[in-house]
């Protein structure tokens, strides 16, 4: 993994991946809440927010965690995916995590300016109010404490892999962004 990053993104990229892997080793064995906090902090500090058009010269690019870490830059989805896969690797159950499309009010409570955004939601129980891992603020807060975010739609890996996850090379999978992202990750040698 490191060599891939080094090859593609140079010495600093390789080192960043190395640092992530070693940090990940340190997070094992912590309770889930602590893991959430550490990971959220780790990525929010390390990764610089930047539009895909700047980082990848594409309008909308779903970067793999490796790419995001090596580049140390990404937009909201890239934060979410990096956090998501890191948490999954640490053993957080699939059905507790969701990628949630939200409408975010920017510029304070009275602002009418909003933008499309994505956050990672953590449901300790199915009925619970989730914790929100957001790249805009460092702190993890309950959804109820985030009046600036209006959830629109959420998804997780379950729907993607239903019925025949083994057949990853079917052409229809290549048009799904999720599957495409997973395939790219696999080619980088990262399969959480």
């Amino acid at each position: 993994m490191r060599q891939v990053a080094q090859q593609r993104f140079g010495q600093t990229g390789g080192e960043a991946v190395e640092a992530w892997r070693s940090a990940l080793g340190g997070w094992r064995g912590l309770n889930e809440e602590e893991q959430l906090r550490r990971i959220n902090e780790y990525f929010n500090r390390r990764i610089r927010f930047a539009d895909d058009s700047v980082v990848w010269s594409q309008a909308d690019y779903w970067a793999t965690p490796l790419e995001t870490i090596a580049r140390a830059a990404g937009d909201c989805e890239d934060f979410v995916f990096a956090k998501y896969f890191t948490l999954r690797e640490l053993g957080v159950a699939e059905d507790r995590l969701r990628m949630t499309y939200v409408r975010a009010q920017v510029g304070g409570a009275g602002s009418s300016v909003s933008q499309a955004h994505m956050v990672l939601s953590y449901y300790p129980t199915p009925d619970a109010v989730p914790l929100v891992l957001d790249n805009l603020i460092t702190e993890i807060r309950a959804a109820s404490a985030r009046p600036d975010l209006v959830p629109v739609f959420s998804f997780n890996m379950q729907g993607v892999f239903v019925g025949g996850a083994a057949r990853a090379t079917s052409p229809v999978d290549r048009v799904s962004r999720w599957r495409e992202l997973l395939l790219r990750m696999r080619s980088e040698g990262y399969t959480p």
């Binding site: 199915p126 009925d127 959804a143 629109v152 998804f155 729907g159 079917s170 799904s176």
Partner: protein, 641 residues
């Protein structure tokens, strides 16, 4: 299986494999495409349903409405909405069997439509999950229709292909068949030329075959021509083309000793008077022309017959030998010949017209050639002295009963019915004295005398009983097979071959002989066989079927037929006695016999000599490669042994 058939089968098999393979690939490609479409459709349906549900109020009625709205579109087999704990809240399922699509297609090409799933939420709260499965029936219908269309197109292509290949192979086969026929024909002694085929690979072969056919024909005709020339040189007079004196004497000797010909007949001599004067007046060249014209007139004047011999005996002397002819008929014949020559109206000058003297004598078998020639000479001298034609009876009356046609018929039919015929045999020996076979001939004992085949067979032919007599001879011969282990030969009249019942009778008789049939040879005289050898082929076939052999006797005239006789799987030839007479002294006959033996050996046909009278003739024939002898000398040697 023929090569062409194998080729056809392999092409058809390859073609079938290709077409079926193409069909299967296209079927499975279509299947895979449909599956992906169904999955994408299910996935999209699930996402859009979940999205709408997330936006609406979450009471069960609204949820049901949304699910039903999507479901009633009819493109989904199952839509299910479950709460986070997995309890089913709303579910719609419809039957998904494709009507009009055979069950075996569904079983053979199973189509898997993966369900699409999406999550429904109410704000931050999870409400549940929708799972959507697309209906496969319309995909199956499309697949079936496509398969039918593709299948019919492929079937059409396949049929067209098979037909085209069949036609191509037929086109190639025709010249091959022609060539095979040509090769067969060459084997059978017919040398035909075929048209060169348009198939390039076969052209050179056909050309080579044609060339070979031409060459073999040329070779055979050259060889036959050479033998004919040798025969003519040795036995024919250069100026007139008639038999020379030696050949005529040989013929005379044969007729007087051959038990197979009529035991009596008529010998006549014609002489042009004053040849010396003619020679002086006309010169040698003109005289020769005259003689040739006379010979031609004589030949035309003779009725064509089997055993009639016409020869130039000396300068202006011609001999005519007609076995079986009475003296009165001989006289009439001479009158006819003389008037034919007179009609030529050859004139030397006023004083000298061409004039013929002629005499005829009757003979019987016991006469010697020398005595007979002396008698006819004295008769001719009388004719010169007296003028006109002299006919003298023989020394003693001929022992031939002449009962007339009806009498003959009655006598032969009676003899056949009562099985009165007996056999007499003549041995054929190898040059070392071993037995080749015994040649059996019919005898008919009557009250007065024992009749030979030469006496009654001409009558039998006339009254249509030749075939019956020949079959009787064969029957008696087969009866003799059991008495010894000697091979036998039976004579068959050429006339029998064209009689309808003969071959069937022969077939039945040979079947009774069983394995002994391989010791039977049937021989046919070359005289009387027409040039096409009609009937011999059928005879050869019947004989071959039973393992019996075919021989030709009195051979020597139709030399050109030799290669064709080979096609009949001929076992042996018996050389006519006239070629054997004084063989040791006649270089012309020696060359001829040698040539015939050479050709016959090339064709794997044995050659025997007939009418071997002396030890000198025997030795000469043996040196020339003749492998069997028959005649008085053979009988003597067998008796001595």
């Amino acid at each position: 299986m023929s090569l062409l058939r194998r080729l056809w089968v392999s092409v058809v098999v390859a073609m079938t494999v290709v077409l079926v393979g193409a069909f299967a690939v296209s079927l499975f490609t279509a299947r895979s495409y449909f599956e992906q479409q169904l999955t994408a459709q299910a996935s999209d349906g699930a996402v859009s349903l979940a999205l709408s549900m997330s936006q609406q109020s979450k009471d069960v009625a609204t949820m049901e409405l949304l699910v039903t709205a999507l479901f009633d579109g009819g493109h989904y087999r199952q839509i299910r909405f479950t709460d986070p704990s997995g309890r089913v809240l709303v579910e719609r399922i419809q039957d998904d069997t494709a009507e009009g699509v055979p069950g075996w297609l569904v079983a053979l090409v199973p189509m898997e439509a993966r369900p699409g799933q999406a999550l429904v939420s109410d704000g931050w709260r999870q409400v549940g999950k929708v799972s959507v499965v697309a209906a496969r029936s319309y995909a199956y219908r499309s697949l079936w229709r496509g398969a039918l269309q593709l299948g019919s197109v492929m079937l059409a292509i396949g049929l067209f292909w098979a037909m085209a290949v069949s036609m191509l192979l037929r086109w190639v086969r025709r010249p091959l068949d022609e060539m095979a026929e040509q090769a067969e024909a060459i084997g059978a002694g017919q040398f035909r030329v075929i048209e060169e085929p348009r198939v390039i690979e076969l052209q050179s072969m056909a050309r080579a075959l044609n060339r070979m056919s031409e060459r073999i024909r040329a070779l055979f005709s050259e060889q036959a021509g050479r033998i004919a020339r040798l025969r003519d040189e040795g036995s024919h007079d250069g100026g007139t083309g008639l038999l020379n004196r030696a050949a005529f004497n040989g013929e005379l000797r044969r007729v007087l000793s051959d038990p197979d010909v009529a035991p009596g007949g008529c010998l006549a001599v014609l002489r042009i008077a004053d040849l010396v004067v003619l020679n002086q007046k006309l010169g040698r060249a003109r005289t020769d022309e005259w003689l040739a014209a006379v010979a031609e007139a004589l030949q035309d004047g003779l009725e064509a017959g089997d055993d009639v011999a016409l020869g130039r005996l000396g300068g202006a002397e011609f001999g005519v030998l007609v076995p079986g002819m009475g003296l009165a008929d001989g006289r009439a014949m001479l009158e006819r010949l003389c008037s034919a020559v007179t009609a030529l109206d050859l004139e030397v000058d006023a004083a000298h017209r061409l004039h013929l003297d002629a005499a005829a004598v009757a003979y019987r078998r016991d006469d010697t050639p020398g005595e007979l020639m002396a008698r006819v000479d004295s008769a001719l001298m009388r004719a010169e002295a007296e003028g006109g034609i002299v006919a003298e009876p023989g020394g003693s009356p001929l022992p031939i009963p002449v009962p007339g046609a009806e009498g003959w018929r009655e006598m032969l039919e009676g003899a056949l019915a009562r099985h009165e015929f007996t056999l007499t045999s003549y041995p054929v020996l190898t040059s070392e004295g071993g037995l080749v076979h015994r040649e059996y001939m019919l005898r008919l004992p009557t009250a007065g005398a024992v009749l030979t085949a030469g006496q009654f067979m001409p009558a039998a032919v006339r009254v249509g009983l030749a075939a019956a007599c020949d079959l009787e001879a064969l029957r008696l011969g087969i009866a003799r097979l059991g008495e010894s282990s000697e091979p036998i030969a039976i004579n068959v009249a050429p006339r029998s071959l064209i009689e309808t019942d003969f071959l069937d009778g022969l077939d039945i008789l040979l079947a009774t002989a069983g394995t002994g049939a391989s010791r039977i040879a049937v021989e046919v005289s070359e005289r009387g066989l027409d040039a096409s050898l009609a009937g011999l082929e059928a005879l050869a076939e019947v004989l071959a079927r039973h393992g019996a052999h075919l021989g030709i006797e009195h051979f020597g005239r139709q030399l050109a037929a030799l290669p064709r006789l080979y096609a009949l799987r001929l076992a042996y030839l018996k050389l006519d006695g006239s070629f054997v007479a004084s063989l040791h002294e006649n270089p012309g006959h020696q060359r001829l016999v040698k040539a015939i033996v050479d050709v016959a050996h090339g064709l794997e046909v044995a050659v025997y000599a007939e009418q071997v009278h002396t030890a000198e003739e025997w030795a000469a024939a043996s040196v020339l490669g003749v492998s069997g002898m028959t005649g008085p000398e053979a009988s003597r040697r067998l008796a001595a042994a």
